[in-house]
């Protein structure tokens, strides 16, 4: 009987992004007084033996990054897939627990679930996005065999890691911590995220459905357990679940039987109604 030895897993925190939308370096944004990069490295280090930080060649001298073992992009191209490929090139015998540095809600629970669900025979093991059902490449385990596949992908002029995963054999996991992979790209999202507690708590909300929403969800009302903290988040979640055809922009929302802004902070027990375009008279 053959005993297969799985490639040992190292950690790779991606900090090579250009932070274009944030307009400042995302790696150094503070949450609870510590930078995103420090928090991400510490989190990953609780789960694997060695953690490296992935950077572009131009970032090697940056002090926030330089205190960690670095893997500098070594293959041509751009984006996170180049960072992942460079890590496999630097340590060909290892699999990589890859984590973007801009996931302020990422939890130990999520990483434990990912590691427990690892399929070493797949190209990668990844979570399914709660927003669109597609694989999440930037909190995933990438196996050594991905190297040749990434090379072929890059050669075809492609560099989107999500598309890569969609086209290769990937073990997909439904995240138990549904908010863990929400990332933060803009100053507005940062303000919102840094104001929230970093541990998400699920709460129960009562949803009533009318007219088209009732027909598309197949129900008049339900109680949902959700991590959504605003009606906007809740609609995104339920739109993904039920395939609502109306974009949020065409709807209004009511909380506890009164019109409410989409950014309203929801509380446990709130009653929410999504209001499609009205047509009385």
């Amino acid at each position: 009987m053959n005993v297969r030895v799985d490639a040992p897993i190292r950690g790779l925190v991606l900090a090579g992004g250009a932070s274009e939308r944030m307009k400042r370096d995302k790696a150094t944004l503070l949450y609870e007084g510590r930078s995103q990069l420090d928090r991400a490295v510490e989190l990953v280090a609780r789960h694997v033996d060695r953690v490296f930080v992935s950077v572009r060649a131009s970032q090697g001298g940056d002090p926030a990054r330089a205190r960690y073992p670095l893997i500098v992009d070594s293959v041509p191209g751009q984006g996170p897939i180049v960072g992942i490929r460079s890590a496999i090139a630097a340590h060909p015998g290892n699999a990589w627990l890859v984590v973007a540095c801009d996931l302020p809600f990422l939890s130990d629970e999520a990483l434990s679930q990912l590691l427990a669900g690892r399929d070493p025979a797949a190209t990668a093991t990844a979570f399914i996005s709660v927003h669109d059902g597609l694989p999440e490449p930037l909190c995933a385990i990438w196996e050594p065999k991905a190297a040749a596949q990434i090379d072929a992908f890059l050669e075809r002029g492609k560099d989107c890691p999500r598309k890569f995963l969609m086209n290769h054999a990937v073990r997909l996991l439904e995240p138990e911590d549904r908010r863990a992979l929400d990332n933060v790209n803009t100053p507005e999202e940062y303000v919102r995220a840094s104001a929230k507690p970093t541990t998400a708590h699920a709460m129960q909300l009562k949803i009533q459905y009318f007219a088209l929403m009732r027909e598309q969800s197949g129900r008049s009302e339900e109680t949902v357990e959700t991590l959504a903290s605003t009606p906007a988040d809740l609609y995104a979640e339920l739109k993904a679940r039920y395939g609502f055809t109306l974009p949020r922009e065409q709807l209004k929302v009511a909380v506890n039987s009164e019109f409410a802004p989409w950014s309203r902070r929801l509380a446990a027990g709130d009653a929410v109604v999504f209001i499609p375009p009205v047509a009385g008279g």
């Binding site: 009533q208 088209l212 055809t245 009205v278």
Partner: protein, 180 residues
Amino acid sequence: MRFRFTDLRIDTAAARRELVDPGAGGYASFEGWVRDFNEGQEVTSLEYEAFQELALKEGERILAEAAARFPIKHALCIHRVGRLGLTDMAVWVGVSSAHRGEAFDACRFIIDEVKHRVPIWKKEHYRSGDSGWVNCERCAATPGHRHAQGHDHAQAHDHAQAHDHAEAHDHAKAHDHDAA
């Protein structure tokens, strides 16, 4: 000032009696009826559905706004819910006032605001066997699409007036699929 729903035929004589007032020299009413065509489709029946808890509040707000804008004595609006056939009355608005002008104006104001703001939905059933939620389904396929003609079964309405008041109610604006 009263806004209400009913799943029975609207009793206009009884409704009108609620508006009687010794100081009223005029009364105007509006009835919206189910029409047999909309947007090139032959309509055979309608279903109205309302989020009543909020609809009643929003309806009362509209009546209060009408009373604040126009010197009227009484106003009442009754809207049907459930399934309606052709020629059935879907909505009734009545206003009494000292003089005829404000009765007409307030009546027009109320029906326009109700159509734009109150969470009531209308499903049309067509001769073809098809059906659809008005303002929701065909529009959803083409975001940003605005109709040249209203979906209105009850009347042609004046958008300048509806919009003018809709300022404070972002709701009315967002839901307005009719062309200005």
